[in-house]
């Protein structure tokens, strides 16, 4: 039997790693993270039942964005701008070529 993949999508893995790395670098304590994440899950789960896949990591992402904005590690506007820059990069890069920001 093939083992299930640890992560369903690459961005789940990337987000997970980013969070673990920041925790280990001392940017926040894990119990604090778990409290915040638990609160986001609870909020997201009010209207519908979360399936533990994409919606779980969406709640994770929102928690990390908010946390880093609060600590000043990343500004909300800068995040939006960078997201837009990556989107533009994907849209202008021919299929199959590496996507870069420049």
């Amino acid at each position: 039997m093939r083992p299930e993949p640890a992560f369903e999508a690459p961005w789940h893995a990337q987000l997970f790693a980013l969070t673990v790395h920041l925790n280990e670098a001392g940017h926040f304590a894990w119990p604090d993270w778990a409290d915040r994440f638990g609160a986001t899950l609870k909020r997201h789960g009010v209207d519908r039942s979360l399936n533990g896949g994409d919606d779980y990591f969406l709640a994770w992402l929102e928690t990390l964005e908010t946390l880093l904005t609060e600590t000043g590690a990343a500004e909300a506007q800068a995040l939006q701008d960078m997201r837009a820059a990556w989107e533009a990069a994907y849209l202008r890069t021919p299929h199959g070529a590496p996507v870069t920001l420049d």
């Binding site: 961005w11 673990v20 590690a73 021919p94």
Partner: protein
């Protein structure tokens, strides 16, 4: 989740490396870029772009080392998983002194086996017997013993499991195909960021004389969460 994800890494693509999502979903009507050929690269989903944005900004600020991220992903995708937990269980089945030490104070025992670190700092091992069946949940989020079991499966993180494991554990167990004798009581352990649990499943009958390696194959991930039983040989 429809579709299969594959990760592609391109070598020379700037300091971050590059990854993009390939989603083979020819029959998925929700796929926004479901054309036969793509004039541009597949646009990652909104959250994927947001994660990239976070990573880029934190890397530019020197707060994140992309190589360290790759290392963490590789660890959990390829090196750490339920085999570690199965090793512990198989040894506990084979060695009474080890089992006693593990149940009394798991941390030093696990540390000696090399199964410690991230999210396994304080472990408690709970033993299933004919009288008691143990089951683990995290009602807050998804606390889980990473060094022993790797990354939790989707269902462990779902609202349904997190809520129902506590409310109606026997029903949940039956959905996993586990039916316990009526006089076996069910004990549900709620993990926290500080304490993680591993269930020591009952050793199946007919396994006398099997060595540790053979026993390991009988120990499933679910049996160590308490949502399954060890497999009979």
């Amino acid at each position: 989740m429809g579709g299969i994800y594959a990760r592609m890494r391109a070598g020379a693509s700037g300091p971050l490396g590059d990854w993009t999502i390939v989603r083979h979903a020819a029959h998925d009507p929700a796929m926004p870029h479901d054309h036969h050929d793509h004039p541009h690269s597949l646009l990652p989903s909104d959250p994927a772009l947001r994660v990239k944005a976070l990573e880029t900004i934190l890397t530019q600020k020197g707060l994140v080392d992309p190589a360290a991220l790759d290392e963490i992903i590789d660890t959990y995708e390829n090196r750490i998983g339920p085999k570690n937990g199965a090793h512990v269980v198989a040894r506990a089945w084979s060695d009474a002194a080890f089992r006693a030490a593990l149940l009394a104070d798991a941390d030093p025992v696990l540390a000696e086996m090399g199964y410690y670190g991230r999210q396994g700092e304080h472990m408690v091992v709970v033993e299933n017997t004919g009288d008691v069946h143990n089951m683990v949940v995290c009602t807050l989020c998804s606390c889980y013993p990473w060094p022993l079991l790797g990354i939790p499966p989707g269902w462990y993180k779902s609202d349904a499991y997190r809520a129902r494991a506590v409310r109606e554990p026997r029903k949940v167990l039956s959905e996993f195909g586990v039916t316990l004798p009526q006089d076996t009581s069910v004990r549900v352990w709620d993990s926290t960021a500080e304490v993680r649990y591993l269930v020591l499943p009952q050793r199946p009958a007919g396994t006398d004389g099997m060595d540790e390696a053979a026993l390991m194959d009988l120990v499933t991930r679910d049996s160590m969460i308490g949502c399954g039983l060890a497999v009979a040989p």
